[in-house]
Structures are given as structure tokens and as C-alpha cells.
Amino acid sequence: MNAQGGQAVIDVTGLTKIFGRKTVVDHIDMRVNRGEIYGFLGPNGSGKTTFIRMLCGLLRPDDGHGTCLGFDVREQAELIKPHVGYMSQKFSLYEDMTVRENLDFIARMYAVADREAGVARSIERMNLGRFRDQLAGTLSGGWKQRLALAACMIHAPRLLLLDEPTAGVDPMARRDFWDEVHKLAGEGITALISTHYMDEAERCHRLAYIAYGHLLATGTVSEIVAQEGLFTYEISGPDLYGFIDKLRSLPGVEQVVAFGVTLHVSGRDGDALAKSLAPYAAPPLTLRRIASNLEEVFISLMRKAVS
């Protein structure tokens, strides 16, 4: 199931949503293939949640068309729903019901065959055993996420739409979560996952970056980095902090970020940047060209979108 040749699970064009006078999602095209883990990135309020909600029938698109799992997103939401596992940003299971009751309820909604075994299996898989009979509202943030994930996978969906599933979750639980997602992808399940974490973005097969309702970039991590054509230099040496403001005012410099004991300086105009940074190569400082990372690329994309 490679990214290029597979059949499209999500294939939409021009999807648009307007709330009042604000266009929250502005003509976005997206194609996600079967078995792909597709990362969905962008600043807060960029329209990620709205876009995901339109895919699974929670919101009606104001414009655009396309299919999700082969069904029309505008007309056949009822046929899409049974095969989608959706996890909302905010915990949206019943806090006054226990872990088992919540999972049982969801399983009944999807008419899961052999429900009891299905619920037991998903409790097992997410390690929720010791919280089985605890009210969901009393779980900590990380365990709530696990419960939500268990709930959205209980009916063996073909597509997972996960809206910031790991926000506020500790690194260990995040790693477990991603291992799980990769395992599912291996079984042919497709996942569209929105996130703010760069390390998570790098674990996706492909990415889309959206800001203020517009799609700014799509592709693999290396494709996106290459597309943006960003040059980055690393300055190391003593007392770097004092240089930051000075560096920011130089021609060609677009970003200066402190990375531990080094500074990363990036810009799209390679010549201007090299010229501006030349004085910083003298001892005790050292200057070297490095590959731009995803975060620098995204911040660059976001700045471009604002201006």
C-alpha cells in the first residue's frame, strides 16, 4: 500500500465552510490514500477541525464536493459514519458513565458483533483494565485520550479522523499511540491526524499544512522542506543571546530561533542570508549551513500566509 498507487479514501476538491461572514475553510483539496497516515498541521483556528468535521458529516460543506470512503461527503454522510472513527479535540464521551459503559454504548451504536468481547478487547488493547469501572470524568487527561481512542476504534473503522489526539498526553503515551496508529495503517486503515507536534508530523507518511483556511503545502516531510526553499545556518559560541535582536534586523534573515546553546537563523533568500551572516563566522563563533527542519518551514509558511 504505497502512498502513490493506492486507492483514494479521501478525495475532495474545493471544500469550503463559511460561518457567518468568516470563511473558515476556503476551497481545500485533499487526497488521502488507503493505509496512509496523513498529518494535518496548521496554527490554532486555521480550520483543521472544521475540515475534519466536514469529512465525516458533522458539518455540511457550503461549497466543494468529493468522496470519503467512496461516498459523497455532501449527500451520503449516513453511509460514511459507520466506517469512520472520529476523535474530537475535546473529550466528548460521557463523564458520568464508566469506561466500560461508555465503550459498551458506542459499541451498541455501531452494532458491533459480539459486543462484550469487543469491549473487553479494546479495554485490553488500551490498557484500560484497572479503570474499567471508574467514571470517565475521573480519569486523568492521558487516560481520557486512551479511552477516546479505544471508543473511536471499537467498530473497526476503515478511516480514522483524529483531531489533536495527543494534546496534553505524556511522551510515553504518545509513542504508544503512534505505534498503534502505524500498526493499524499496516492493516490498511487510513488515518488523518491533526497535530501541533513536529515529531508527530515527522511520523506521518504525508502532510498538509493549512493556515487561515488555505492549504499552503502538501507532500512528504522532505518534499515540503524542499518546496519551501529555506536556508538555515547554525551559529554556535558563547553569549549568543545578545545577538538575537541584531540578527533579526539583518537583510535576508526571517527567523532566529535559540536551540539550546546554538542559534538557528533561516531565510529564503540564500545569498542575502549568507552575506548577512558572514561576520558571525569569526572566532569565538562558528557558522555552518544545516538542513532546515519542519518547524522552521512551517513558521515560514505561516508568516507568508499572514503577509
Binding site: R53, C56, G57, L58, L59, R60, A77, E78, K81, P82, V84, Y86, S88, K90, F91, S92, L93, Y94, E95, D96, M97, E101, F105, I106, R108, M109, Y110, A111, L135, A151
Partner: protein, 380 residues
């Protein structure tokens, strides 16, 4: 997938059992469902009396004859008056009335007895604090009879001719169904409708609004559940609650207030179904309009107030102006009260109450119809 595009009994069952689970855990709502009927029963049943007796009365007796004492005794015997004070001047009478210490002042002039014997019809004055007409009207009616019969014992021998004469017509009064005019007999069956209206509208209006406010609606809408499954799944548990409330009130009516049950109890339970469902329909409709739980409660009160005031529960329906009667007729409680009182007090049969049933049925259809139409299957 069987019944995918239609109604799925399995999903409906899941909704119902979820509602029951949550209902069990929500102690405050649970307390409201049982507490409100009990509280209203006790307050309305024990505390409210539209036929007050033993009202505090002062007497200004300037005559002190056997006839002035006859007058006072007759009033006392009517049970409406209780002489709490004997006063000496009109100024004192004014003050006591103004301060609300007494409800009535009876003034008997000098030479009352002498004039009576002479046959010149002496004047006795009863002043009432009529700020609350309901508190005084029955007593005022009673004193007329008292004034007629008061002196018979002492109008004997040559005075016999002064006794009140029979009117030209022998009018017989027969107060049926509640001859002793016991307020509770009217109030307690009526409470059944009031309690059902109050609690069921509030609870169901919260039911869907809560899902939206807590964000759980999102998770519910993403499942294949159909609107009818959600709405009916929310209604059914509260129909059960409504019947539990009814049983509480029926039990209390029998055991605490000894309300006579003339009609058929099973019939009452049967015909209550559309009324309960109509109220739930109102609640569901509100919950599709309200943005949050506070608004839902506020809307419920907008429905509850006219229901309790215009339905004939608190005040006689026939006494309202035409427009108010029309408004009242649009509310299901108005018709339900007639049904309940008809069955409980008058022994009405199904055929007797049909004229009151169809408006309830119509209301049910409209309220549930609006609720279903307004229910959104998306988050838009």
C-alpha cells in the same frame, strides 16, 4: 446492516439504557423528580385552602342586648368568624383593620335590640379587609345566612312575626362531587398535571441541551444514530419517570388526603400517556432551541407559568376573560386537569373525556413534530 436507513431498535435501546444510567448518577435531577411532587403535594395539599375559616374578627357592641349576642353567636357558629377582640371605638376598629390584625369588624349600634323588637330593621355593620377577596368572600356569604337565622331563638311569642319569612321560591342547593367544598379534593388531582408539566418539561429540555453543552453531542452525532432514535430514546425514560410521579401523587391523594376516587384508575393512567408525551415533546423542542442549560430552564418557566395560571389549576377557568380562555385552551394542562378531575371526582368514563383528549393529542403531534424538525443532525 439491517434497518440502517430506518429505525434501529438496538440503537434506540442503547440510548434508553444510557439515559437511565445517567439519570441514576445525577442525584440532583433525581431528587428533583421525586422531591418536586412531594414538596408540591405537601405545600398545596396541606398549606393552601381557598375556603379559609376562623377568621379573626373584632366586635364593637354598643347595644349589649340579647340580640346583639345572638348575632355574634350565629356568626361564630358559621365557623368563618372567630372573635378575637372586643373594642370600644370606631377609631380602634380602623386601626386594627389598617394594621391587618383582624379581618372583620362587626359594629352593632345602640338600641339594636330595641329597634329589632319594634320591627324597624336596625342596621348592623360588618367591615371586611377585602384586599384579598378570596379570603373574605365565603365568610361574607355565610354571614347573610347567619343574620337571617340568628334571632329565631329569641323571637318567640308575640315577636314571632318578626322572624325572617321564606322566600317565594324554595331553592335547594346541591353541591355535587365535592359537597363539603374540600379544597384538597380539587387541588390534589390537579397537582398531578402540574407536577408532570413542571418536572418533565425541565428535565427533557435539559436532556439534549446538556449533551450539546458538555460536547458529547459531537460523539453522538458521529455514530450512525438516527434523530428519532435519539429523541425517542430521550423521551421514553422520562415517560417512566412521569408514571412514577403519578403513582406517588395517587398514593398521597388516597393515603394523606383521602381524596375519593370515583373513576377508574387504570383509565387515568392510560389517558395520561399522551399528556406526559406532550410535555416531553415541549421539553425536546426547547432543547433544540436553547443554547445552554440555563436557557432551557428559562424557556421551561415561560411554558410553566401560563400553564399553572391559565389552566384552571389555581383560578377558575370560567372566570377568565375570553382571550385568556383561548390561551388556556392551547395548553395541554387545561385539558388534562378536566380529564383528571373528571375521572377522579366525577367518575367520567373514556367516552366522557374524549372531548378533552383530542386537544392533548393535537398538542403532542405539534410539539414532537417541531422537535424532530428542529433537531439537527450536524453541528451547524
Amino acid at each position: 446492516m439491517a434497518g440502517f436507513l430506518g429505525f434501529s431498535p438496538a440503537r434506540f435501546g442503547a440510548m434508553v439504557s444510557k439515559e437511565f444510567t445517567q439519570m441514576r448518577r445525577d442525584r440532583l435531577t433525581f431528587a428533583m423528580m421525586v422531591g418536586i411532587p412531594l414538596l408540591q403535594l405537601i405545600l398545596f395539599g396541606f398549606a393552601i385552602n381557598s375556603d379559609p375559616k376562623q377568621l379573626p374578627t373584632a366586635i364593637l357592641d354598643n347595644d349589649r342586648s340579647v340580640f346583639s349576642r345572638d348575632m355574634a353567636a350565629a356568626m361564630k357558629n358559621s365557623d368563618y368568624f372567630k372573635f378575637t377582640k372586643e373594642i370600644a371605638s370606631e377609631a380602634e376598629a380602623d386601626e386594627l383593620l389598617r394594621l391587618g390584625r383582624i379581618q372583620f369588624v362587626l359594629t352593632i349600634p345602640q338600641n339594636f335590640g330595641r329597634d329589632l323588637v319594634r320591627g324597624v330593621r336596625p342596621v348592623a355593620l360588618l367591615e371586611a379587609d377585602a384586599t384579598d377577596p378570596a379570603a373574605t368572600s365565603n365568610a361574607v356569604a355565610a354571614i347573610r345566612q347567619a343574620a337571617t337565622d340568628a334571632f329565631n331563638r329569641d323571637l318567640t311569642g308575640p315577636l314571632l312575626s318578626l322572624r325572617a319569612k321564606d322566600g317565594p321560591v324554595d331553592l335547594r342547593l346541591h353541591a355535587r362531587y365535592n359537597p363539603e367544598a374540600v379544597t384538597q379534593y380539587n387541588i390534589v388531582p390537579g397537582l398531578m398535571g402540574v407536577v408532570l408539566t413542571m418536572t418533565l418539561v425541565i428535565i427533557t429540555s435539559l436532556a439534549i441541551t446538556r449533551e450539546r453543552e458538555r460536547g458529547t453531542m459531537e460523539n453522538l452525532l458521529i455514530t450512525p444514530v438516527r434523530p428519532t432514535e435519539v429523541l425517542l430514546g430521550k423521551i421514553l425514560p422520562y415517560i417512566v419517570v412521569g408514571y412514577v410521579q403519578m403513582m406517588l401523587i395517587v398514593l398521597a391523594a388516597k393515603l394523606l388526603f383521602a381524596v375519593p376516587f370515583v373513576g377508574s384508575l387504570p383509565l387515568l393512567f392510560l389517558v395520561s400517556f399522551p399528556f406526559i408525551a406532550a410535555n416531553l415533546g415541549v421539553g425536546i423542542t426547547f432543547s433544540t432551541i436553547a443554547q445552554n442549560q440555563l436557557q432551557a430552564v428559562q424557556m421551561s418557566f415561560f411554558f410553566f407559568l401560563p400553564s399553572i395560571l391559565l389552566s384552571g389549576f389555581m383560578f377558575p377557568f370560567q372566570g377568565m376573560p375570553q382571550w385568556a380562555q383561548w390561551l388556556g385552551s392551547a395548553l395541554p394542562l387545561t385539558h388534562y386537569l378536566r380529564v383528571v378531575r373528571g375521572i377522579v371526582l366525577k367518575g367520567n368514563t373514556f367516552v366522557d373525556i374524549v372531548p378533552h383528549m383530542w386537544p392533548i393529542g393535537l398538542f403532542l403531534l405539534v410539539s414532537v413534530g417541531i422537535g424532530v424538525k428542529r433537531y439537527r443532525q450536524t453541528l451547524d
